[in-house]
Symmetry: C2
Subunit: 343 residues, 2 copies
Amino acid sequence: MTQQDGGPVTLKTIAQEMGVSVTTVARSLKDGHKISAETIRRVRETADRMGYVRNLEGAKLRTGKTFVGMAFLGLSDEEEVGDSGSIGLLNGIHRRFAGTDYAVRAVPVSQGDQSLERMQEVVRGRLADGIILDHIELQDDRVKYLLDADFPFVAFGRAELLPDHPWFDIDNEFAAWQGTDALLRDGHRRIAMIDGDPRFTFVRQRIRGYERALRDHGLEPDPALRHHTEIAPDVARRAAGPLIDRGADAFLCVNELAFLGTRAGVRDHLGAGANRIGFSLRSGTNLANYVATRVHSSHYSRQQAGWQLADLLLSRIERSPIGACQKLVQTNLITTERPNAAF
Amino acid sequence: MTQQDGGPVTLKTIAQEMGVSVTTVARSLKDGHKISAETIRRVRETADRMGYVRNLEGAKLRTGKTFVGMAFLGLSDEEEVGDSGSIGLLNGIHRRFAGTDYAVRAVPVSQGDQSLERMQEVVRGRLADGIILDHIELQDDRVKYLLDADFPFVAFGRAELLPDHPWFDIDNEFAAWQGTDALLRDGHRRIAMIDGDPRFTFVRQRIRGYERALRDHGLEPDPALRHHTEIAPDVARRAAGPLIDRGADAFLCVNELAFLGTRAGVRDHLGAGANRIGFSLRSGTNLANYVATRVHSSHYSRQQAGWQLADLLLSRIERSPIGACQKLVQTNLITTERPNAAF
C-alpha cells in the first residue's frame, strides 16, 4: 500500500497521477456508475500499477456498513443426487458481488429450522447489510419481520398475503402452464404433477398454471394426479408408480431432483414400457442434456436467478424504492430429444 | 424469559426446580456431554415448560466467541447439472452444528478468487471461531496462513508439503484404486481417467491409486489416457470422444459431474455401441441409483464428510491437539446394475 516515495497509495494519489477527479477514481474502482468502460480500465490499470489496496476496514468504520450480503438458502436434507438449485443461486449471487466491496455468506436453512431466529440475530447484531431468502410462504413470517424492521432484503418469491416487498421471481404459473402444454401437444392426456408443499407460494402458482393448461385443452384437472410433498428424488421415485396406476401418462416435475426420481420410479414400475411416458420439468440447470430421455424443460438459469437477486439486493441496500426492487422473469421451453442410443 | 413470579428463567432456576446441578442443566441444554439421554430429555422439557431462552448474546460477551463456524467452499462455475458436492458438505456441517450454539456460514470460493484475502478478513476481524476449507493444494497458502495465525480450522484434504495440520480426508488413493480395480475385474484394460487439476492434493493421490491398480493387474499406465482439467460435465463430455479414439474402453471419473458428462460424451461418440464402455466414479451421493447404466461407485457420503469436518472443527475450537483433529475414511464400493429397461 505504498508508493515508491513511501507514501500510501490512495484514491487521491491515483487521481493526481491520472489528472482526473477522486470521484471518477472511486467509482471506477467500485461499481463503475456513470463511468466509461475505457476510463474504468485505465483507472484500474493505474491503481494496480501503483499498488493500490482498498482499505475496506476504513470504509466499514466510516459508513457503519458490514459489506456482507447474507443469503438464507433452503437446503433439502436429501443426499440422493445432491441439490441442483441452491448452489446455482449461490454462484449467481457470488458472481454479482464479485468486483463490488460486498462479500456473500450463505446460511443453510433446513425444514423445521428456527430460521426466523437466525435472521433476527443477523438484523439485531447488524451482521449484514442485506438479506436474500428463498422458499417464501404466502404469509412468510421472515418477510414480515424484515419489513417491520425496515431491513434491506430481497425474497426469491412473493409473500402474496403480505404488504408489497422486494422480490425476484420466476413466473411459476407460466412455467407450469408451459410444461403442461408441451406434454398435451405431444398427445398426453393424463398428466400427473409432482410438486412441493402448497404452503409455498410457488407451488400455488404452479397448480394454477397446470390446471389452466389442462382446461385450455378441454380437460378437467383430476386432483388424484397431483402429488405434493417434500421435493426429493427418492420421494418422487416412490410416488411415480401409484400415479401410473391411476392412469398417468406423463409427469410435470417441479425441478431436476423430482425429475430424476420420477424417471427412475417410472422405470421401476414399467420396465421396457417406460418409453411411452412423457416428462417435463422446471429447470435451472442443463441436466436434461445429459440424460437419454425426451424431456421438456421450462428453463431459467439458477445462476442468473442468483445474479438478479443480488443485483436487486444491492439496489435495495442503496435504498431504491420497493417498487424498483421487484422483477418477474419467464422460463424458456427447451425440448431435448431422446438420442438414438438408449443408454 | 420470565417465570410466573416475574423473575428470569436461568440455568440456576431450572436446576433448583429439578433438584440437579447447574452443570447438569448446562450440559443437557448444550451438547449433552456425560449426561444420560433421559436426563437430557427431562431438562429440556423442564426448560421448555418454564420458558427458558438461552441468552447467546451474553455468552458471546462473556467468552469473546462468535459462535460462528465459517466454511470456505470451492464452487464450480458450471451450470450444467448443478453441483453435487458442496451442498452435501454444507448440509452435513449444518447437521453437526444443529443443537449446538454454533451457526454455520458458507463463503463461496471460485477459481481465481482471492480466497486467502477473504480468510484474512475473517481471522483479523474475528468474524468466526473456526474455519473449514476445501480444495487443498500441496502447499496451500491458506492452510499455511491459518497455521501461522494459530486460528482453529480443519482442511478437507491434506496440504502434504506443509507442517502437520487438522484435516479430514477420504482415502483418495484407495478410492481410485478401488474404482480402477472394479473395472479391471469387469475385463476392461484401457481405463481412462477423467480427473481434476494435479495441483490439488487429492488428484495426486488419485493418480497413485489408479496407477497402482493397473500395475497390480500387470498393466503399464498410459499417460495418454489421463485427462486432467476443470471438473465440469461439459468439459468431461468433450474429453470422452478423443479418449475412446485412443482406445479407452472404460472411464474412472472423479465425481458425479465428470461421470454424467463422460457418459453423455460416450453416447455422443459411440451411439448404440456405448454399452460396451465401463464406468466408475467416486461418489458422495446416490446418483448412480438414478441412471440406467452399470456403474461402480467408490462411495462416501458428502453429508457425512461435512458432519465429520464440523465435528473436528468443534474439537479444534476447544483446543484439542492437532493430532486428535485428523481423520481418514475409506470409500465403499457400490455397483449398480443396468436395469433391463434401457431408458
